[in-house]
Subunit: 210 residues, 2 copies
């Protein structure tokens, strides 16, 4: 089994944090997105969509999509449960992970892809849409702050995949100069709590500057 | 247990098709999105994000997000398995469902929300982004046509949640005047095959015009 990944991109980082929380180690091949290694024919043979991460099985088949890869390892290594335990709790984690994907991560990546110089020339940018995503993100932070008055982690009492999705999104948001306002005390406390976890701290994109 | 839903919107329709395939019947309250019933205080108490569908449990708790609701019923009513059976197959279905969400449905809804008169005045529209989504969708249809040369359904040999996501997206695309080109013969054959299923045909948004 082999993982093709990229250290600092948010989606591969979700898998990296997930595996660390599970205590799973897998041989990993670094794909340099800045050098567009993900668009080389060799890589497109693994994933025609050119996205990381990709999990290669020993039988030569591939699995893509970060959450699909995480879900595979949740099934093979159930503890600690990062997708919840039992039908109702698992559905609740799915709800919260999707809320973090659609309300937070999608707005962060929408702003990043449409306004940041990194993507200029790589994709067709629509800056006006990126700025709309930025404003939507600021609105959603207020909503999330209210929700976190009721539970210490995104989906409830325990750390789950929903926290992983959210913290990778907020870390990426830093390069867009979007930070969680101190006035949002619940969200700020959550962010500090989750950022201190070894799996999160050791993979922080800001480490490369440190 | 009670479901708050809207007949013709794509996400609620995913749940409707899913329940029909499972043979599950649940009392359903129709929420009229055109009349903005989803933004009334009573509804926001169920889902502060104002989105349908919402599943209300008998203990007064709520579950939102279409796929979270589907996953709950997959756990309580395992047959027929619409999320796959076994770790590897389930991960594969998750991959394909996410590909359909991000590569197909997100581009359809991105075009719909940013270009269609229905949303004018409801949200801030960025038509240039909507048109980019339209072109991206046309590109992804070609990719998906190639993938479907290898398997009759989106995720393989069996009908799954990934087919449900894709067919609701392509049905919504019709109001954007985007149709699957006949030249994409694999995708066209898949669409005809899935559209003929009673759960899909009986919930088609074009029925209201017929």
């Amino acid at each position: 089994m082999k993982l093709y990944s990229s250290r600092f991109a948010p989606n591969p980082r979700r898998v990296t944090i997930f595996l660390a929380e599970k205590g799973i180690e897998i041989p990993t091949v670094e794909i340099d997105l800045a050098k567009k290694e993900n668009l080389l024919p060799e890589f497109l043979g693994r994933n025609p969509l050119g996205r990381v991460p990709v999990l290669e099985f020993d039988d030569g088949t591939y699995l893509t999509e970060s959450v699909a890869i995480c879900r595979y390892f949740e099934a093979t290594h159930p503890e600690p449960a990062l997708f919840g335990s039992g039908a109702r709790a698992q559905a609740n984690v799915e709800m919260w992970n999707r809320r973090m994907e659609y309300e937070v991560l999608a707005n962060v990546t929408g702003c990043f892809r449409n306004t940041h110089p990194y993507w200029d020339g790589r994709i067709e940018q629509v800056p006006e849409y990126g700025e709309l995503c930025r404003r939507t993100l600021e609105d959603r932070m207020k909503w999330l702050d209210g929700e976190l008055s009721n539970h210490p982690f995104i989906a409830g009492e325990r750390f789950t995949i929903a926290d992983i999705t959210a913290v990778t999104a907020f870390d990426l948001a830093k390069i867009l100069k979007v930070r969680i306002p101190e006035t949002l005390s619940n969200l700020s406390a959550w962010y500090a709590r989750v950022s201190a976890l070894p799996s999160v701290a050791s993979t922080s994109p800001s480490r490369k500057d440190g």
